[in-house]
């Protein structure tokens, strides 16, 4: 209040007050004077500087100030720009000192004596107050006044002692601040100023917002603010939590930031695969393995659930178990262990039906998921890829200002660098135009070479397989280890080396790395497919052999049973064949279990190979390169062996083919999904570690946006190719007679018929038989084909429409841009003119002011007013034509007048 009072000048009342003050001041200690003189000097300096400033950049200020009139807190902001922060702080401190001194003075004075004076003083204060209010109302038109008031409020007012009007004002000011914060982005100010303004406005709003409500309302308001803040924090935490819940998300992000999206796409694919396998595992484990283990007949109760007598001695050996023989073979892990009992346990669980349906269901589910994911990916890639201003976006919007810890910052830094590299590469590729004929020739040549290589390796595999069959006929004992394992050796060697050769050849083609990756994937796919089918053909041969064997065994068993029956008859007629141990019963070869075992062995050896190559090829190499480099004659790190790069194509294909094996073998070995889950889990951790620890990023880091669907397409092909043999075996080959859930049936799918006949009412089976009539099925299929065709064509037309609309939007955008540009140019010219006019007006005004000043000077000299006052008035004059301009800290001026 005192400050506000001090500001009024040229009134009789005020003069009186000044006198009183001066008296008080004389009574006070001497130190105060020093403070004030210092202060005065500073103030004068400041004013002068301010004025110089104003003259220098008059026009600029003009504009600035016009904007500032809208904001509440003009004086302070402006001063901030004009002065350094530290300086302001000093000044504020000084003001405080002054205030304190004065307060003390007053107390002193009142304590001394002179009741009258004190009364007078009180009266004066009241008067002052009244006057202030009046003036406030009067001068509300002048904005500087408001500003000053707010300034003073900032410094001394407590929200508790506010009158309604003041509250109203405060509210307005807060609203204005809020508006300013919102519109700050569009203001044509330098960034530093914006930041300062923003910070101060926010502080202001924070400080006074809560004060707006009174009593209960204020509390409620504060509570609301607090709750919104808490809620926001909670939301952010929840987001973090959600991210943390996505398995391996952080690891993958870290890899992505260092190695680019192509490497990360492999790990995302791996994670996706892990999810699929989890579900497959859940199905087989929950619906097949656990029911059989819990409710089925226990081990040893039947011949198919018992290790035969001849193998009993070695059934627990590690080598046998490692080969999935012995006890492992006669367990729930394989097809042969399951019983053909129609319903097991107290739940009447239909085991054979469940087995069959789970087998079909896993494949159906896989198809569904793969196709759905493909469709979703296709959607994503098609829409909204705005590549204009790509680099500007990256440049100015990449950094995440919420990053708090240095490691994340490092990662972000790496990821931004990588994304820049990717973008630069894309840009380069789009501008590349070489000798097109040469490139074409080289591409044809490269494909020819690759085809030669594929044909050669195919022939080699064929040759080796033929030879191994010859060896098998001769008897394997006559041959060396090398010859016996020739097929496996050749296949794995070719699988290892041919991709390298393809890689070298593909440098001829000069493709974009993403396209090159796809070609590479396609080629290796062809190579692996050869391997896979060799394997399947060999397996088929073996199945046929086993079935021959089975026939013989079947015949032998009947004779054996007959002899047994005869034997028992002769001895004891009441209890036939009760003493026979199931281990001694002769049994068939059970080709299904053999197939399952082959697949499990293949998966295990494949996994081992992957891990060992990882450890030797990546880790050992990295260790050698790193530590031998201290004592080597050339630079190992930058030169010849170097660190390895992450082989995306090889790893992706390994994963895909591995999955194909699972799909093929899961019907005969229910444990396969479980094994695969284990393998994927381990390889996730191992490969993440290996990538971060021993690999270097590729030389050309590229964006992998399109390749994800390519992986999916390959997966679909593999799914199709791997279900073919499985379905073939299920449909055409009769199941073994003495093992597995379908034993005793002619075909495996007979279980459906059986269930329909015995478990469902008669009408249902009738309906089903009608429905499965070809006369109904064929039209249905036709209808489906037609529907698919219709949907396809509509989607195509929609896509076209989309493209058209996009084009339209683009042209419209360009038009708008042009229009805006024109408007901006015009506005600029107008502004220029206005400025010129304003500067002219300013000159004139200044001249006027100078004359005015002269008069005032004289006047003020009488009242011993110091220099700053004149400046002060000068500014007043200026603010007439510069709306919103006001002096900093007008409130302090009167205190100087005491001298």
């Amino acid at each position: 209040e005192r400050h506000r009072g001090k500001r009024r000048d040229g009134d009789g009342e005020k003069k009186k007050r000044k006198k009183r003050r001066r008296k008080g001041a004389h009574r006070a200690e001497e130190g105060e004077d020093e403070v004030q003189t210092r202060h005065e000097r500073r103030e004068r300096e400041k004013r002068r500087r301010a004025k110089n400033d104003q003259e220098a950049k008059g026009r600029e200020r003009d504009e600035e100030e016009r904007v500032q009139t809208t904001s509440g807190k003009v004086a302070k902001t402006k001063k901030n720009i004009r002065n350094e922060n530290t300086r302001r702080r000093v000044e504020e401190e000084e003001v405080e000192v002054e205030e304190r001194l004065e307060k003390r003075k007053k107390k002193h004075g009142s304590a001394k004596k002179e009741e009258k004076k004190e009364d007078e003083g009180k009266q004066m204060v009241k008067e002052k107050e009244r006057e202030v209010k009046k003036k406030k109302h009067k001068k509300e038109t002048s904005e500087e006044e408001d500003d000053k008031e707010e300034d003073s409020k900032d410094e001394e007012m407590r929200p508790e002692c506010l009158t309604p009007e003041e509250l109203e004002k405060l509210k307005e000011a807060v609203d204005e601040r809020k508006k300013l914060i919102q519109s700050l982005r569009g203001k044509p100010w330098p960034m530093k100023k914006k930041l300062v303004t923003l910070r101060e406005s926010q502080e202001f709003v924070e400080k006074y917002e809560g004060a707006l409500g009174k009593g209960k309302g204020r509390k409620l308001y504060a509570y609301k603010v607090m709750m919104t803040k808490k809620w926001m924090k909670f939301q952010r935490d929840f987001e973090n939590f959600k991210t943390a819940c996505i398995p391996w998300e952080m690891k993958i992000k870290e890899i992505e930031s260092h190695f680019g999206s192509s490497v990360a796409s492999y790990f995302i694919f791996l994670r996706w695969m892990y999810g699929i396998n989890m579900i497959l595992f859940g199905l087989t484990f929950g619906l097949v393995m656990v029911p059989e283990a819990l409710m089925g007949r226990p081990y040893g109760s039947m011949p198919r659930k018992t290790v035969p007598r001849s193998e009993e001695t070695s059934a627990m050996d590690f080598a046998v178990l490692w080969d999935f023989g012995g006890y492992a073979q006669y367990s729930v892990l394989f097809y042969g262990f399951y019983n053909n009992q129609r319903a097991i346990g107290w739940l009447k669980f239909r085991m054979p039906l469940s087995y069959f349906l789970v087998g079909v269901g896993t494949v159906a589910y896989s198809y569904m998921v793969v196709i759905r994911t493909m469709a979703r990916n296709a959607n994503e890639s098609g829409v909204g890829d705005d590549n204009s201003f790509n680099f500007s976006w990256k440049m100015f919007t990449s950094w995440d200002y919420l990053i708090g810890n240095p490691e994340t910052a490092d990662n972000k830094f790496a990821s931004i660098t990588t994304s820049f590299k990717e973008a630069i590469l894309e840009e380069q590729e789009s501008h590349k135009d070489d000798n097109i004929h040469l490139t074409r020739f080289l591409r044809v040549l490269a494909n020819f070479l690759v085809l030669c290589c594929l044909a050669g390796s195919g022939y080699l595999i064929y040759f080796v397989v033929r030879r191994s069959q010859k060896f098998a006929l001769d008897g394997l004992e006559n041959h060396t280890w090398w010859e016996r394992n020739e097929v496996n050796m050749v296949m794995s060697l070719l699988g290892m080396f041919c991709p390298m050769l393809f890689d070298v050849i593909s440098t001829l083609e000069n493709y974009h790395p993403r396209v090159a990756l796809q070609w590479q994937l396609g080629r290796i796919f062809a190579l692996f497919l050869g391997n896979l089918y060799t394997f399947i053909i060999a397996l088929m041969d073996e199945i046929n052999l086993k079935r021959e064997e089975e026939k013989i065994v079947k015949f032998n068993i009947t004779t054996w049973e007959a002899s047994l029956y005869n034997g028992t008859i002769s001895e004891n007629s009441t209890a036939p064949s009760i003493t026979i141990n199931p281990a001694d019963v002769p049994r068939g070869p059970c080709w299904e279990t053999m197939v399952g075992q082959e697949f499990v062995r293949l998966i295990i050896s494949d996994t081992m190979t992957t891990y060992i190559t990882l450890l030797i090829g990546d880790f050992l190499r990295a260790v050698l390169v790193r530590f031998l480099n201290y004592c080597w004659c050339w630079d190992l790190e930058a030169g010849f062996p170097s660190y390895s790069e992450f082989d995306v194509s090889g790893n992706v294909l390994g994963l895909i083919f591995n999955q194909g094996m699972i799909w093929m073998g899961a019907f005969y070995a229910p444990c396969l999904p479980a094994l695969n889950v284990l393998r994927l889990h381990v390889s996730m951790y191992l490969q993440c570690w290996a990538v971060m620890c021993c690999n270097v990023p590729q030389e050309r880091v590229f964006k992998a946006s399109g390749s994800n669907n390519f992986y999916m397409a390959m997966l679909l092909v593999i799914l199709f190719l791997s279900t073919l043999p499985a379905i073939y075996t299920i449909v055409t080959i009769p199941p073994s007679f003495d093992c597995g859930p379908f034993s005793g049936k002619n075909r495996m799918f007979d279980v459906i018929h059986e269930t329909l006949e015995s478990d469902f009412p008669a009408w249902f089976s009738k309906v089903f038989s009608y429905a499965s009539n070809p006369g109904l099925v064929l039209p249905f299929i036709l209808l489906m084909v037609l529907a698919i065709y219709y949907l396809q064509s509509t989607s195509k037309s929609y896509r076209q429409a989309n493209v058209e609309l996009k084009k339209k939007l683009q042209t419209q955008n360009e038009e708008n841009k042009k229009k805006n540009k024109r408007a901006a140019l015009k506005a600029q010219m107008d502004l220029e003119e206005a400025r010129k006019a304003a500067s002219q007006a300013a000159e004139e005004q200044k001249n006027n002011n100078a004359s005015l000043q002269g008069q005032e000077d004289r006047q003020l000299l009488a009242s011993r007013a110091p220099g700053p006052r004149t400046y002060h008035h000068g500014n007043h004059g200026a603010s007439g034509y510069l709306p919103g301009f006001s002096e900093p800290r007008m409130c302090r001026v009167p205190s100087l007048q005491r001298h």
């Binding site: 080699l460 040759f463 090398w482 010859e483 080396f497 050769l501 890689d503 201290y630 030169g639």
Partner: protein, 271 residues
């Protein structure tokens, strides 16, 4: 059927069958294709050199000198450099700095315009001529060469190019550097070019640091830091913090596929 296989099977003592051996063919091809530049380099730098040494009885540098003498214009450094380049890329291989990396060297010299230049490893004078060509007036170039015969050739080449304001010092670099200040009245080196034994890069740099000849802003350029490579030197750079440094990536001289780099160091002085 395949001839090789029957042959191998014929040798019944062999353990590994021919099919397995054939499976290694892609690996062999891959290695040959991937490292073809290294094989070419090996052939040109080692095999051809030994062969020619035996035939002519001259050293490689002497042969190069003969070629330059017959094909270049005396007094014209450009023509001498060009003759060298032709000989090194067409006839035999000498690890000069080469035209491509030479351009970087030229540019740096133009920018710095140093007055005192030290060259470690003159070899047969190619880089000496190159440096001398782009030095400002009044500059002085000290060139150090360890081998007596190479030094003689370098001297001749330099004189042939028409430069006489440089000093050729025939001694190992580690002996010369500590005595530079006393013997040659050197106060400060503005520019040092290193192209001698890669193993000597680090010790020589350290002796230079210790001798106090490097001032703030002195530039050191080291060739072939990636191939054959000077890993210890680079490690020292990273750790010491005395230099502002960067690596100009390029390919090895007179060869396209081998990556190499030159390290550019600016001495920042002891803090």
């Amino acid at each position: 059927k395949s001839v090789i296989i029957t042959v191998v099977i014929g040798n019944s003592g062999m353990m590994v069958s021919g099919a397995i051996a054939l499976a290694f063919l892609p690996l062999l091809l891959t290695l040959i294709i991937r490292y073809r530049y290294y094989f070419v380099l090996l052939y040109r730098a080692v095999l051809v050199r030994i062969w020619k040494d035996c035939i002519t009885g001259l050293t490689r540098e002497e042969r190069a000198y003969q070629y330059v003498l017959t094909h270049a214009t005396p007094g014209d450094p450009d023509s001498i450099l060009e003759a060298f380049d032709v000989w090194c890329s067409k006839v035999e291989f000498i690890s000069n700095i080469g035209p491509k990396k030479g351009k970087i060297l030229d540019r740096l010299l133009m920018e710095q315009s140093p007055l005192t230049v030290l060259e470690l490893g003159a070899h047969c004078g190619y880089s000496t001529v190159r440096i001398a060509r782009s030095l400002p007036l009044g500059a002085r170039l000290y060139s150090i060469e360890m081998d007596q015969r190479n030094a003689a050739i370098a001297e001749k080449i330099i004189r042939l190019a028409g430069f006489d304001d440089d000093t050729l010092i025939v001694n190992p670099s580690d002996e010369v550097i500590p005595r530079l200040r006393s013997d040659y009245n050197l106060e400060r080196l503005d520019f040092v070019f290193m192209d001698h034994w890669k193993k000597c890069y680090l010790p020589d740099l350290q002796t230079l640091e210790g001798s106090g000849l490097l001032g703030k802003g002195s530039m050191i350029l080291a060739d072939n830091v990636l191939f054959p490579g000077a890993p210890k030197f680079l490690r020292h750079l990273r750790r010491s913090g005395l230099y502002q440094w960067k690596i100009h990536r390029a390919t090895l001289e007179y060869s396209k596929g081998i990556r190499d780099g030159m390290a550019e160091l600016v001495y920042q002085g002891v803090k």
